[in-house]
Symmetry: C2
Subunit: 259 residues, 2 copies
């Protein structure tokens, strides 16, 4: 059985907040004891906010390239500049949308930069009312996951996994799904090649995107709107935990038929 | 909380088997009472097998086009012919792989035709030892899901959802994930546009591929190899149940930047 439980009462996260302490405190209040094999799944937004990845758009100077893409996509050139800075290359554009290969290696819309659910970092009088704050992805989500995992494992003595997820659109299909953008302590991809199937044939091409399946499951319970819960506790992840990394999930450009 | 429970003891499925009866019987034995809002997720294979979608490759006559693709992809021309018959168009090829737009509208490898976990439909003396049996996807998975749901709802009085899933590779990322290829009684895509976010901004582009997130979650607990369990009971699907269809999940070709 696989059980996914959103942790209740995680507060709005600010730059510098201690996510590990908050999660441990929330688990204690919810009477939830972390156990060997459990995985904690975090929405990218709270990791980015805790790491202070907010950018004031007014302070971003658009390059010529950004201005060109801004015209083409009918987007704010300051935002386009931010997107370009976070990306290796632009794959496709259309009005309102820039699909890039992110500097972290995955393909996503608008470099994963978010405006919804983003509050200004402070509300003191010095802030200009027309400031527009945007949230970048964590600098290194695998490292963020590893640091969080180390803290949680040290506090609980349990062998845990930590995954950081975002919602991505997909080629060919409508609707976003949760995908893993950083992980520690669990497999990204599980290689079942060589395992026998029900009739003794050898499975030859079955590599399962286990961390992405987990991300989609957790995304389902997180929700997207006002009632969102950004941390999900998972019990019953069916594959053995091991060290893992985002890289397992990224198809190299030269082996990708759709880039 | 979202709970996914693989139903224990589903036997190997043969053509003509009554899946609804088997599921009801299994639920009874497992002391599991289906309740309003529950969703049952089925692996495509058992639906296809019950519907008799096995094909003996020896009886398939390759067309000239199939022979050409067979050389290009180093695949059996009989199998390529089957793939072409199940497809609208071929999108990409490389040795061992043909990526098609399936006649059902989604993009997948080898038209979803499967050899692993496929036993001959009968083992009587008349079968030639070198026969190669392959399994096609269900003729109309939405209809299969609807028929199954009607039976289950009639027997239990509960308002249920039924999803049929397969494992698909993806553009850009390694590893397969579960995706929905047919559904009844639950949303394919949930439109959150217009909902307020945490700070009162309106979410403008959030359409969630809810049935695909559910499929990925169920795929995670089904497993792929010998111990696979092809039916998963889901409690706690977080969106309201409604009529739904595969079509919601399929991006029309003219709006797809990666086809």
């Amino acid at each position: 059985m696989l059980t996914l439980t959103p942790l209740p009462g995680i507060p709005l996260i600010q730059s510098g907040d201690d996510l590990a302490a908050l999660i441990l405190q929330t688990c204690e209040q919810a009477n939830l004891q972390l156990a060997d094999g459990d995985v904690l799944v975090l929405a990218q937004k709270i990791v980015s906010k805790a790491e202070g990845r907010l950018v004031n758009l007014a302070e971003v100077e658009p390059s010529t390239k950004a201005v060109v893409y801004a015209v083409e996509t009918e987007k704010d050139p300051h935002l386009v500049e931010l997107i370009l800075r976070e990306s290796r290359t632009v794959l496709r554009t259309r009005p309102g949308l820039i699909i890039v290969e992110h500097r972290l290696g995955f393909v996503c819309a608008n470099a994963g930069i978010d405006h919804s659910n983003v509050a200004p970092p402070r509300t003191d009088e010095g802030e200009k009312p027309d400031d527009e704050w945007y949230l970048l992805l964590p600098e290194d989500p695998d490292a963020s996951a590893a640091a969080l995992r180390a803290r949680l494992e040290a506090a609980t003595g349990a062998r845990l996994g930590v995954a950081i997820i975002d919602s991505h659109g997909r080629a060919w299909r409508n609707g976003t799904v949760g995908v893993c953008i950083g992980l520690s302590g669990l497999p990204g991809v599980v290689d079942l090649r060589g395992e026998p199937d029900l009739f003794g044939y050898e499975l030859r091409v079955t590599e399962v995107g286990a961390a992405d399946e987990l991300a989609a499951a957790a995304s389902l319970v997180m929700g997207q709107a006002a009632e969102g819960t950004p941390v999900v506790h998972v019990r019953g992840f069916p594959y053995p935990l091991r060290e893992g990394s985002l890289n397992e999930l990224l198809r190299p450009r030269e082996r990708d038929l759709f880039r």
